[in-house]
Amino acid sequence: MLRRRAFFALTAAALAVSACGIKRVNRVDPNSVTDLSGRWNDTDSRLVANQLITQSLGANWSRDWSAANLGEAPTVIIGEFRNRTMEHIAVGTFVRDLERAYIQSGTVKVVASSSERQEVRDERADQQVNASAETRAKLAREQGARFMLQGDVQAIQDSEGREQIVYYQIDATLIDLESNTKVWVGQHKIKKYIQRRRLTP
């Protein structure tokens, strides 16, 4: 009898232990702050996008350009955003957010970047042969950009024992393609203090 009880108790314990290892997935609010490792994450990307959007739309460069150009919105091409850190940082997330904000607000017109336009050009070239005359997109009607958005992400790390400081600086620059003048410079800084516990549960 005692042996049987012990067997059931052991089986129940084994089941309980294995249940702890079952994968659990929950959908959470994309706006929530979820810092796990201390590395670059979605919150950082969102913070950067928000700051760059606010700074860019609040600046006067677009209005000044419109005042000198028939009230038209300036045209921007998204250039390269370099990740100069040792970490993998998906810079495309906040760059896309910025691009979306430009289009939504109507502040500027955004043209396809060098990586995007080749496919479009291929399709247009294909239409010249295969599409009917009235529906084919005409050649040499692309809109040239007047400004290029470039930027980079840099990081500084400092650590001692179980403590670590990670500092990210994100710089975005809008350059006049004709004169090379920097008409707007946006910047956001993030500093994280990471403290690791001695014992993990």
Binding site: V33, D35, T54, D64, A67, G71, S105, G106, T107
Partner: protein, 269 residues
């Protein structure tokens, strides 16, 4: 010796080692897990931007109406072409450059006024180039300055403000630049400037002669020969002869070119 002292000391050391690591950073977190960071919605700014743009376009439309009212046909055509010309008034300058008064800084003093771009990064332009300054005398544009690839181009007569005259001025600037390069022994650079100048101003005979001399010095006889011939062809020789002494320098160049042609033709054969 009591061994318990060692035991107590090691216990104390072990406790100290287990104690929390001394924190050197005592900053209050500005954001913790569970907080919310809302993504910025830029569409809220759209109505404001749209109304700003509409206001600008309305201003430009009013300026067009004011610019055209009572204007001569030549001015109307220039406004339609988007070209600032001598004699235009302030509103016509706005209309010709498709800009609003916000794009300009205007300083007025006893009948004269000066219009300069309000922002260097967004300078108004007309068909011929970026405007640097418009000087008005008695309400009419008297001197126009535009930014060109070779510096500021100034026009103070109606014939100077045309595209052809601006090309001529740019060619002159290129010839000057070429002469400076010859002086600093950059012969290839100088030849490049002379070539560009000859395209901008095909009637400039002097530039053909300078290019021919350079090629001759570089021991490129065939090209030099062609340039000398082009120089002579581009000259109205009869006119030069009639001007006599006044064009002694040019006459000397003609004689030199003719002489070199004879020599080079023999060499090339």
């Amino acid at each position: 010796m009591n061994p318990t002292i060692y035991l107590r000391a090691s216990a104390l050391l072990a406790l100290a080692a287990c104690a929390p690591y001394p924190q050197r950073v005592n900053e209050t977190p500005i954001m913790v897990n569970g907080d919310r960071v809302q993504a910025t919605d830029a569409s809220a700014a759209a109505p404001l931007v749209a109304s700003e743009r509409d206001a600008m376009r309305a201003t430009i439309d009013s300026l067009y109406a004011l610019a055209i009212a009572g204007a001569s046909n030549a001015v109307r055509e220039a406004v339609a072409r988007g070209e600032v010309t001598i004699g235009m008034n302030e509103n016509q300058v706005y209309a010709a450059t498709r800009s609003t008064p916000d794009a300009w800084a205007v300083r007025r003093a006893s009948g004269s006024s000066v219009m300069v771009p309000a922002h260097t990064s967004a300078a108004p332009k007309d068909k011929l180039g970026e405007m640097v300054m418009v000087q008005l005398e008695g309400g009419a544009a008297a001197v126009l300055s535009r930014r060109g690839p070779q510096g500021i181009l100034v026009a103070s007569r109606p014939q100077d403000a045309t595209a052809a005259a601006q090309g001529k001025a740019a060619a002159e600037a290129l010839i000057r630049e070429g002469d400076d390069l010859v002086a600093s022994n950059d012969l290839a650079g100088a030849l490049n400037r002379y070539d560009r100048a000859s395209v901008l101003d095909p009637e400039a005979a002097e530039v053909q002669y300078k290019a021919a001399r350079l090629l001759d010095l570089q021991l490129r006889p065939q090209e030099a020969l062609m340039r000398y011939q082009r120089f002579l062809l581009s000259l109205d020789i009869e006119r030069i002869k009639a001007q006599g002494e006044a064009n002694a320098k040019m006459a000397e160049a003609i004689a030199m070119a003719q002489q070199r042609i004879l020599v080079l033709e023999k060499q090339v054969r």
